[in-house]
């Protein structure tokens, strides 16, 4: 009935969201000598900015670091999260109620409130600027949400399945690994996307715990472009676009699952 009106409002809101992207593309395409307004199309596009950004920001190295950290953290969150969720979903006891509440409460702890003591632990164990240091941090702080998502999902799987497997001679551990784990695929998609997105885009933890240039991840590389005064804004813009491109591509392909994952996570967040 009022559809043209809806389209018009939607276009206007979308424009607001697209403006920073548009401006960044314009800046990235212009050479440093082009002093025209950021809104204007470049007279002579300068694709060299992108090559420069890759070289100056060591973006290939940063991309690989980001990928390794994201992949390993996500894998661990999936395995440890599903494992922890199984007894919590199946076994009601006073102990498990306490464990449950404890894990829920971790969701609320702001990472920054633990910055100083965490940093101290990492210095003592020489885990600053190491893969295992940052990965353990990501795993710890992404686990609670995944445990909740898995526990919710496991509750919807009939217990009769476990019982049948036990009657067939499975130990309770093989019930979990052989029977339950394969059934968790739908919720695993959500957990993977939520966790991978959080780790890939992380800035805070990486800023504290990855201090060697060789260990930089993408967000840190881009931040160092913008943080240094006098660095070329055009190269910085090109770097920013390159850094967000993989995530945008994945999002466009898997959009439906991202949205579903977000909702699955929020409902118990």
């Amino acid at each position: 009935m009022n559809r043209p009106w809806r389209s018009l409002v939607a276009v206007m809101i979308c424009l607001v969201q697209v403006v920073p992207l548009y401006i960044t593309v314009m800046v990235a395409l212009k050479p440093q000598t082009d002093l025209s307004s950021y809104w204007a199309w470049p007279e002579q596009p300068a694709p060299g900015n992108f090559a420069q950004a890759i070289e100056d920001g060591h973006l290939v190295r940063a991309g690989l670091n980001t990928f390794v950290i994201t992949a390993v953290s996500t894998l661990l969150v999936v395995i440890l999260g599903a494992m922890a969720a199984y007894p919590l979903a199946r076994h009601r006891s006073r102990l498990n109620a306490v464990v449950n509440t404890f894990i829920l409460s971790i969701l609320m702890i702001p990472a920054l409130s633990l910055l100083v003591p965490l940093y101290v632990i990492f210095v003592k164990t020489q885990a600053i600027s190491t893969y295992h240091g940052i990965i353990l941090t990501h795993v710890t702080f992404n686990l609670p949400l995944s445990i909740f998502m898995y526990a919710n999902f496991i509750r919807s799987i009939p217990r009769e399945l476990d019982e049948a497997a036990v009657l067939d001679g499975c130990s309770i551990y093989s019930v979990f690994f052989r029977v339950i784990l394969p059934l968790l695929k739908p919720v695993t998609v959500s957990v993977v996307l939520l966790t991978a997105g959080a780790v890939w885009n992380d800035f805070q933890y990486s800023l504290y715990f990855l201090q060697k240039p060789a260990m930089q991840v993408l967000t840190l590389s881009i931040a160092s472009f913008f943080g240094i005064s006098g660095s070329d804004p055009h190269v910085a813009a090109a770097g920013a676009l390159l850094a967000i491109a993989p995530m945008i591509l994945v999002y466009l392909v898997l959009q439906k699952y991202f949205v579903k994952g977000m909702i699955d996570g929020a409902l118990k967040g």
């Binding site: 920073p20 960044t24 999260g81 702001p110 353990l136 800035f203 967000t219």
Partner: protein, 289 residues
């Protein structure tokens, strides 16, 4: 079966070990550090009692950061509900371009907040994109972020645009879960559009409100990335949140003990706000339905 399941408790031990080592232990150690004058690297330090805690109350910068933290938290929560619910209602009915609009509106959630904020910085520079428009309509160039007065509201707006997709998606799911027959039934009884919204949509959307507000509130109170990228707490200390103040006290001012104390304050702030929100929700649940 019960005994078997109890044996399965072993499966959560690895997770608990991680939580013990990287959450519980640091939390307790943080309390200890906040009673010291430690500088963050030296071997010697002394316990100085409650001096750091006293300083939390007296220090003007902490007070500013505390107020800002609440502004960021509640300000973005409010704006995100308005924007998120508005967009969800807008996208609830089919129209041309609906799918594209949903894709674009949710996109920023998936982009790193810190990089997104750096992209916004091209708009806020003195010679930036926003001032070009101001100039075009004949206005004076505005100091968007460097005057302080405008900076806090602008950071709230940027944070809102970054994460309003989250609320939008939660509300869209909520709207879709309301059976159409409720509207038909109320429509037959002669309810106006506003009455439909107030007496059908709002009560049935209640769980979505709770989820969305809780997620946004905790996120806003922890705000760090966007501030760090756009103002780094400046000018002076005007836009610091507790999170950015902890970082700068520790790494820039070498006040580890004090930074740890601010950490405790942040923890207590988030906890109190979350509990207060829960209490309000419980009371509202009764009045709304």
């Amino acid at each position: 079966m019960r005994l078997l399941y109890r044996k399965a408790n072993a499966l959560y031990v690895p997770a608990l070990v991680l939580f013990a080592g990287l959450v519980v232990y640091p939390f307790l150690d943080g309390i200890r550090i906040s009673f010291t004058n430690w500088n963050g690297y030296s071997q010697d330090y002394a316990f100085i009692g409650v001096q750091n805690l006293k300083r939390l109350v007296d220090d003007d910068n902490v007070r500013t950061a505390f107020t800002n933290t609440l502004l960021y938290g509640f300000g973005s929560t409010l704006l995100q509900q308005l924007a998120g619910l508005g967009c969800a209602v807008l996208l609830d009915k089919p129209f041309r371009g609906r799918t594209v609009a949903r894709t674009i509106l949710y996109l920023p959630v998936l982009i790193s907040a810190v990089i997104m904020a750096y992209m916004w910085s091209y708009l806020f520079e003195y010679d930036g994109a926003l001032n070009d428009i101001v100039g075009l309509v004949g206005g004076e160039r505005v100091l968007w972020l460097s005057s302080g007065a405008l900076a806090v509201p602008l950071l709230i707006v940027v944070n809102t645009l970054q994460y309003m997709g989250v609320s939008m998606v939660i509300y869209m799911a909520g709207l879709q879960s309301i059976p159409g027959m409720y509207y038909e039934a109320a429509g037959l009884d002669g309810a106006s559009r506003w009455q439909l919204f107030r007496h059908v949509t709002v009560p049935l959307l209640y769980p979505a409100f709770v989820t969305s507000i809780t997620v946004n509130l905790i996120g806003g109170l922890k705000l760090f990335d966007i501030i760090r990228a756009l103002t780094n707490g400046g000018p002076g200390y005007k836009t610091h949140s507790l999170s950015t103040l902890i970082y700068s006290s520790y790494f820039e001012s070498q006040l580890a003990g004090f930074a740890s104390a601010i950490g405790l304050l942040l923890f207590v702030t988030v906890l109190c706000c979350a509990l207060a929100a829960q209490a309000v929700f419980r009371r509202l649940e009764v009045t709304l339905s």
